[in-house]
Amino acid sequence: MPNIVVLVKQVPDTYSERKLSEGDHTLDRDFADAVLDEINERAIEEALQIKEAHDGEVTVLCVGPDRATDAIRKGLSMGADKAIHVLDDALHGSDLLQTAKVLAAAIRTVEDVDLVIAGNEASDGAGGAVPAVVAELLGYPQLTHAREVTVDGTTVKVTRETEDGLTHLEASLPAVVSVGEKINEPRYPSFKGIMAAKKKPVETVDIADLGVDAGDVGLANAWSTVVEAAPKPPREAGQRVEDDGDGGVKIAEYLVGQKLI
């Protein structure tokens, strides 16, 4: 009966234009629609599949502003049992290390955690290190970039997929697992799930509740600083080749020129 905590993040919708604030280079939250990060939907799906196979309980954990409740509710309507929302204005502008510290402190408040599941990287910050840092802070083994997860008694096995190929990892619980794009296809919530989500407990805590010092978090105390931000340059027009019967040859010449063939 694994007790699973899933780390979730609300991010600007990748379908909408994303922007940073002019002043402090933090995310301009008013600009884009906010959604539960898709990789987190996969993390929740994996947790739910483990729960369905072994029983247990799934808690979603989110650090974020007020409106992150929408992302939490989505997780609950998919089928998670309860949620913890770390909500504190002092957290504004926190970087990856500070966020991981807060997440680790929040995970410690959950009794008898067996498994922490996260997405391997958020679609906004794309740091890709939060799961590893959280594991380090908790002293748990880390099994990252999973494309397959199996829980068997007190052991978790993971097939890890990176550019270097597949690696088979095994660790004792409790452990931190981060999942990649190929792990599963997340389910849609059902209408009944949406209705049920309203009644599920969401515990809202601030950093004082977690024993985290306000001097350790927030933009002013961040370990990393964004000094400049510029929009991505517009895509340049491609090279156009007219096909006068020799289109194939011209494409091959182009590819040879690019050293692609």
């Binding site: 509710r73 309507s77 849609y188 209408f191 009944k192 949406i194 309203k198």
Partner: protein, 381 residues
């Protein structure tokens, strides 16, 4: 631009959000291909079933969503915006559950309704016949009761989901007594003697098969009679009143899709050195299209709110069906005009929208029949 909606509560907002997500990710990307290949999206209906969208306006006790028509119809509209065949299919399924939900006994409902409303089953509604369309009371498919089984013989026509549905809510003749001789049977698709004719070759909604259903000594157990013998025509017409609201919502959804496509194109397309949306000829055309969409939406929502409050809504349902389907015909035709030559090609979706807009003016009571029903109420008042 998605339709702007005033929804009654957070649950409804979340439900519309879920519907948009499913529509955007699962329906819209494959709609054009399935329509071209005349392929029925059975798996996509199963997804709607798993998401709880197939029984929204029916009581939770029977596996439904317990929702008002005001909310259900807006969910339906969102589905139709992404894919008209799915919207019409959902509307027909909901109508095909009506007879059992409203007129079945508790025993009948407990036995069949949860799988129809909360599962992945798909329904069909069989009233019309080759010689009985607008004049439904002229239907001739006979059901003769022998040894607690109805033996049914005849041909039903224009059946949406024919050959694919799991059950057919079927109106049959149990006595020669005109409209009072019609009864309603809930026919299982696996009934011996029931078969589907090849699909009709239609102008639009080609992803949704429409067939005749042939009853050849089909043996339907007598416990599948809904209501009493002779109640069938009343049940059928009552179901159609609510069904028409569904068709109105679908038509508004289709018109919204055409409007969105036209606006997007008019912003992109430049002539005489500027986007064509800046020319007054285009502005007025688009403004009239938007006015038609939003007034049709308001019309069906008004009828839905009356239904939700238990007030009579037959006239308003007929008006909504008439207004919304005529609006969809006009808006989709004008969308082709906005896109010009491109709109006339199958590379853009608006010519398909135009073809899809035609049949809602015809089915579930032609718009001439709707005018007749509206006028009849005016005469009586």
């Amino acid at each position: 631009m998605p339709a702007e909606r005033l929804l009654p509560d957070r649950d409804a907002e979340d439900l519309v959000k879920l519907t948009r997500e499913i529509a955007r990710d699962e329906l819209a990307p494959i709609a054009a291909r399935y329509e071209e290949e005349e392929r029925f999206p059975r798996e996509q209906f199963r997804l709607l079933g798993r998401s709880g969208l197939l029984g929204l306006p029916y009581p939770e006790a029977w596996g439904g969503g317990g929702l008002s028509y005001e909310v259900y119809l807006q969910v339906l509209e969102e589905v139709a915006t992404a894919w008209m065949s799915m919207g019409v299919g959902l509307s027909v399924h909901v109508m095909s559950c009506f007879a059992l939900a409203e007129y079945g006994t508790d025993e009948q409902r407990a036995r069949w309704l949860p799988d129809m409303l909360g599962g992945e089953l798909l329904g069909a509604y069989a009233l019309s016949e080759p010689q009985a369309g607008s004049d439904a009371a002229a239907l001739t498919t006979r059901a003769v009761l022998t040894d607690s089984t109805y033996v049914v013989n005849g041909v039903k026509a224009w059946i949406t989901h024919g050959g694919h549905a799991d059950f057919y809510t079927t109106m049959v003749r149990t006595s020669p007594d005109g409209g009072r001789g019609v009864s309603c049977l809930l026919v299982d698709a696996a009934t011996p003697g029931l078969s589907a004719a090849p699909p009709e070759h239609k102008m639009g909604l080609t992803g949704s098969p429409t067939t005749q259903m042939i009853f050849d000594d089909a043996r339907v157990p007598a416990d599948r009679l809904l209501g009493a013998e002779g109640d069938g025509l009343r049940i059928a017409l009552t179901a159609l009143s609510s069904g028409r609201l569904g068709i109105a919502a679908c038509s508004v959804g289709l018109a919204q899709a055409a409007l969105d496509e036209a606006v997007a194109y008019a912003k992109e397309r430049s002539q005489f050195g500027r986007p064509i949306i800046e020319f007054q000829g285009m502005e007025f055309l688009l403004a009239d299209m938007a006015a038609a969409v939003e007034s049709a939406r308001a019309t069906y929502l008004e009828a839905a709110r009356r239904r939700d409050r238990g007030l009579p809504f037959t006239r308003q349902a007929s008006i909504a069906k008439l207004v919304a389907t005529d609006a969809a015909m006009k808006v989709t035709t004008d969308a082709v005009q906005v896109l010009g030559g491109a709109g006339y090609t199958r590379d853009f979706p608006v010519e398909r929208y135009l073809r899809e807009a035609k049949v809602p003016q015809i089915f579930e009571g032609t718009n001439q029949i709707q005018r007749m029903l509206i006028a009849r109420e005016l005469r009586r008042s």
